[in-house]
Structure formats: structure tokens, C-alpha cells
């Protein structure tokens, strides 16, 4: 076979590969690469969405980090939610999954009961929680008051608004419950039997058999949870808006974050900058911060997990 024929064959093969990959490649370029490059580009420009963008160097970056009053509260809130809400959801999802896999009768009923809240539309679920936790008229505080317990302000108190959002997220933990149930049912029974023969306690069986087997699923739940929380917009926005009572009249400006900026998250800041203040450049800066944070969290978790696996070996 000549060199020419070999080259032609390789070229045809490369073209065929590219053709098979083209749906993904086109999607990647249109929906990921181009928006990402544009976001980086716009973050260095003054761009109001109407007039052509003009290069402005680090002006937007300096404004966001030094002069924009909502960035740091939103970053703190987002990190708080990443640490607390994601942890609570994973722990609760795993707990419910464990419980349901152990139940002998009525498991189907409980599975449905725990999964149903996940199907509730986010806006409706949030409205329901704001109503239930209303400090003035809500049934939760009425019950707490009746039994002599403190009655928090929930969505109207800056100290309680994020725990209230966490409660809402934990209530809708059905998605994680299903994933964990599948993983738990997949753990080889022989390993439990061997551990029992060795005299392992229930906790030891969980620690040394269950956890190592489902650790990839836990990692998946944590990583997707972090990414979802980085994009957390609807629930805090609706809760803040409804609890504040300000629905916005004619010509009235509304800024999210009630009470006292405590429900402000980075995606809300992106909306505020881009669509309320017409500052797309600065909105892109915050979007990039979100991207970098999500990448950093994911990389850290992946490294930590591979380290753990190596240590286990």
C-alpha cells in the first residue's frame, strides 16, 4: 500500500469520526464554547445591551469587587448554601434512601411520599413554604407557639431565611433519595455477610461496606448539588419577593435579597446587573466567578476522591 493511499484512508477515517461527532461538536460550540468565549469577552467591555460593546479593560472587575454592594453578600450566601444546603440534602437523601431500603412493608408508599415533593414546581413549592412559615399567620409558628417553642421569623428574618430555604430544599430531596436507593440496592450482599461474620457492627458495616461502595454516587450527588446551588435562583427570588410584600407597582424597582440581602444569590446578581442595571459586562464578571467556583469545587472533590481511592488501595 502506498503512503498516499494510507493518508487518504486516515483522512477519510478522520472525516467519518468528525461526522459522527458533529452533533455533539455543534452543540458544544453553540451552547458552551461560544457563550463562554463571549462571556469572557464581554466581561472586559462596557456593554448595556443596546449600544455596541466597548473595551474597558478591568473596569467591570474592579466595579464588581470594590463598588457593587450586592456581590459580596451574594457570594457569602451562595457559599453558605453550597456548604449547608448541599450537605443537608445529601445526608437527608442518603438517610431516607437507607430507611426505605430497610423497610419490609409499605416501602412503596413511603417512596412515593418522599418523592412527591420533588415534583412540585419550584415557584408553587416556595409559595407554599412562605405561607406555612409566615410568622404572623402560618400554621408552623402557631404550632410552635402553642407548645411553647420560639417562633422564628423564617423568611422575614435574615438569620432564618437561609435555614428556611434549606428546609425547602431538603423537603424536595426525592431525586437524591431515588439515586441513593439504586446505589444502596447495588451493594453486593456478600460483603455485608462477610462483615457480619467478622463481627462488624451496623455502623461499621455502613462505614466500611456501604460508604466505599456508594462513594461514586455520593460524589455525583455532591458535585451536581454544588452546580445546582450555584445556579440557585427561583426559590430565593420568589421567597424574598413574596415575604417582602413588594410585588412592584408601576415604575417601581425591585431588588432581590429580602430580608437584608440574606436571600441574595449570585445568579440573582447576574440578573440584577444585566437586566435591571443594563450592565452586561459586570454581569459577565459574576457569571465567570460562578463558573470558576463551580470548576474549583468540582476539581477539589474529584482530587480528594481519587486521593481517598488511592489511600484505600
Amino acid at each position: 500500500m502506498t503512503t498516499y493511499t494510507l493518508r487518504a484512508k486516515r483522512r477519510r477515517s478522520a472525516l467519518r469520526t468528525a461526522a459522527f461527532m458533529s452533533p455533539w461538536l455543534i452543540g458544544f460550540c453553540v451552547f458552551f464554547a461560544y457563550p463562554l468565549i463571549s462571556t469572557v469577552y464581554f466581561s472586559f467591555t462596557s456593554y448595556d445591551g443596546f449600544t455596541a460593546p466597548e473595551f474597558s479593560g478591568l473596569k467591570n472587575w474592579s466595579f464588581v469587587f470594590n463598588d457593587y454592594p450586592l456581590f459580596w453578600p451574594a457570594l457569602r450566601n451562595t457559599l453558605w448554601l453550597v456548604v449547608v444546603m448541599v450537605t443537608c440534602r445529601v445526608v437527608f437523601g442518603l438517610g431516607v434512601g437507607l430507611l426505605i431500603t430497610k423497610i419490609k412493608t409499605g416501602a412503596g408508599v413511603f417512596r412515593t411520599l418522599f418523592y412527591l415533593p420533588y415534583l412540585a414546581p419550584p415557584v408553587a413549592a416556595t409559595l407554599g413554604f412562605v405561607f406555612l412559615l409566615n410568622p404572623g399567620t402560618g400554621p408552623v409558628n402557631s404550632i410552635l407557639g402553642e407548645i411553647g417553642l420560639p417562633t422564628p421569623g423564617w423568611f422575614t428574618d435574615a438569620a432564618w431565611s437561609k435555614p428556611a430555604l434549606t428546609a425547602l430544599a431538603v423537603w424536595g430531596v426525592g431525586d437524591l433519595m431515588v439515586i441513593f436507593m439504586a446505589a444502596l440496592l447495588d451493594v453486593p450482599k456478600e460483603q455485608y455477610e462477610a462483615a457480619e461474620l467478622d463481627g462488624a457492627t451496623a455502623f461499621q458495616r455502613f462505614r466500611f461496606v456501604t460508604l466505599p461502595n456508594i462513594s461514586p454516587i455520593i460524589l455525583f450527588a455532591v458535585v451536581t448539588g454544588i452546580i445546582q446551588t450555584m445556579q440557585y435562583y427561583t426559590q430565593p427570588f420568589v421567597a424574598g419577593k413574596v415575604a417582602s410584600g413588594v410585588m412592584g407597582g408601576s415604575g417601581q424597582q425591585f431588588e432581590p435579597g429580602y430580608p437584608d440581602k440574606s436571600t441574595l444569590t449570585l445568579p440573582q446578581v447576574v440578573y440584577n446587573l444585566g437586566f435591571q442595571r443594563f450592565d452586561y459586562g459586570s454581569a459577565c464578571v459574576v457569571a465567570l466567578v460562578l463558573f470558576v467556583l463551580a470548576m474549583a469545587f468540582t476539581a477539589l472533590l474529584m482530587r480528594r476522591r481519587s486521593g481517598l481511592i488511592q489511600a484505600g488501595e
Binding site: F50, T51, G245, M247, S250, G251, F275, Q276, F278, D279
Partner: protein
Amino acid sequence: MSGNRRKTAAALAATAAISLLASACTGQSNGASDDPSKETTINFWHGWNSPNEVQGIQATVDAFEKAHPNIHVKVIGDMTDDKVNQALRAGGSNAPDVVSSFTTNNVGKFCSSKAFLDLDPFLKKDGIDPDKTFPKAMNEYTQFDGVRCTLPLLGDAYGLYYNKDAFEKAGIKRPPQTWSELAATAKRLTKTKGDSYEQLGFMPNYHGYETTTEHYLGGWDPKYFDADGKSNIAEDPSFAAMLKTQKKLVDDLGGYEKLEKYRTSFGDEWGAKHPFHTGQVAMQLDGEWRLGMAEETKPKFEIGVAPMPVADDEADTYGKGYLTGTIAGIAATSKKQNAAWELVKFMTTDTDAVVNFANAIHNVPSTLAALKSPKLKYDPRFKTFLDIAADPKSTTTPPSVNGGAYLVSLQNLGFDIEKGKQKDIEAGLEKTAKEIDAAIAQAK
């Protein structure tokens, strides 16, 4: 071409493509010179969505088409600001030629970015003097930095609603005219019940629906910006005076926490269980729409309407109020700008059109002639709002290049003051003024 050159060319092409795409997303005037006397169809986008509002605007458009049989109007309602802004950027045959928006705060951006056409040449061509046509405050909120890119299309005037029965029971003869009088009246009307209220004289908290900083300031004579466009809130004593007045009201009526807890028992602002309808509060600062909404719920008391109180040292200006409203403009991307102007002119300056629309949706007419028109149909109490709109001392919030961001900054300071987080009001105003200036510098 070598591999390196090919890569460089590809990179340049990609950069050029991105730049082209970016600049394609901008709204620029086409300088259209269409003939409005010829057969044409224009697109009109508005935000109204309730049945009577949609009927009202459609009746206005029908009257326009009758007067201009060659210009057909495609009306699209229930448009949000985001959709409007996207269409203004993109242009095209389905994009709006004429736009109306409730967000007067965006006028600054619409004018400075040239997303809306400068209407001065059209007004001059037709001999319309805005100063003689529209109320002073409405003239202010429809232009920015010397560019008039919108006109008022009906307005909203803010006044004081009060429970006449509660006033009578408490032996109060007339509604308060100054903020000191309101404070005293509110205290007399307040009846506590345990750690809450049976009736609150007035809900002073900024989240008490329409009791926002900018609406309170309608009782003063605030100058938000100086001649250089810098924030004036730390210099103009109106701002500190208003913030102190509100804080004292909050403290005197039970304190922030107690009031805020009571507020959470209120019904929705736009629903039947609004606290003024239910008698939970005896006085309410609100727009002209509240009268019709409250009467629809058939309250168990007689509703009184009065101008909002004014600052104690401005008692002679009693009768003024805060004004805002809907605006209308022409998209710079429109290729039928002359035909679009005919519609804008008709809707905003034709006295009968303005009056009929105001009658249909119970808003305040936005021309001086319409405010005096004998064809206006209204409840006698509504006259208060007509007078507020016509009062040259009535104020508004000026448009800014970054929308209502300066109002939000001021409102956030108000939140901190009312709950006692920010004790030094003057220092807070100085810090907020710097924040506003930094945001405006960023937007320019």
C-alpha cells in the same frame, strides 16, 4: 498557507465573527423616512394584561385606525420589560415599532442608548410644546439628559387613603396634611391587641406596600442629582428629614420588629385582603388605583381620599404628590418611524384618546388638557388625584442611566435605618451617595 498561518487566520476569523455577532445585537436607528400617508402596518407592544385594560388600549387603537385608515396596528399585549428590551436590541419585522412600558426608571437607558428615538424633532414638526402639553413631573420622567425619547401615556398619582369611620370614632375631623399631623393621627388611630394590633393607624415600614422611600419623598421636594449628575442625597436636607420622619414613625408606632410581624399578617397588595380593605390599617399611602380596588371589595367603612402629607416646613405645598406612570416611545430599529409617531402622538396627546383611555382603566390622564376635560368620568374622590397630577409642585423620580439602581440604593439605606442597623443617617446618606455615583460612573 502554512499551519501557523492557517491557525492565525482561523483565530482572526473567529474573533471577527464574535465581534460581528456582538455588534449585531445592538439597536441602531435606521433613519427611516417612511410615508405615513401610505398603507402600512405597525407593531405596538404594551404591558397591560387585565381584561378592562386590554379593552381600553384596544379601543384607543381602534379610534386611531379610524382616524388613520391607512395605518394598521398590530397590538401585542402583556409584554414584560425583558421581552421589550430583547426586541429593541434585535429589531426585525416582528419587533415593535411603538412600545409602552410601565418602568419609567428605564427611560434613562432608553434615551442614552438611543434604543428609543429622540421625539423632539417629531414634536417640533407638529408644533407640540411638551411643557404646555404634559404635567411638569410627567415631562421630567419622560426624558433624560436633554433627550426626550418617550411621552407619558396616562399616569399614576399617589395620595392618602383613610378610613372615615375610624376617623369619626377617634374624633378626628380631617385627614393629616403634614407628616407631624400624620404621626399624631396614626397614634390616635392605633389600637393594640396583646403584642400586636387590632388596628394600626398607618403602616410606616418600607415594606408596607407603597410606603417606599421615593413615595415618602413625594411629601418633600427632593433633588436626587446635582447639575453634574452626581447624587445629591447627602446634600439635600429633604432626604435626611424624610428618613428621620419615617424612623420616628416606626419607633412611635411600636418599633420595627412588632410592625414587621404585623405586616406578615396582611393580604396581598393586589388582592381583596389588602390591609386597608380589611381595616387592619386606617391610613394607606397609595396610588389612584386603590380607590376602585378597595370599593370593589365592598369595605365595611367609608373611604376617604386626600393628598399625601407634606413636610412640616412645606405645609403651603399641601396638595402635591408623587407622580409616575406609563411611557410610550418609538423603537430606533423601526422602519416605520413616521407612522409610529402618528400612533404615539394620538395616544399621548389627543385629548379625547387620553380621556377615553383614562376612563377605561381608571388611571390619571397625562395631558393638562385631558385633566380638565369635561368628558372625564370619575368618582368625586378621584378628583384629588387629578389635582395632584396637575399640581406643578408634584414630584417624581428622575430617570437615570442605570435604571432605578439609585432608588434601590436609597431604599436599602432606608431598610437599614428603620431596623436600627444604620444609626447615623447623615453618614449613611454620604456612603449611599458614593455608591450611587460609582454605579452611575460604571454605567456611563
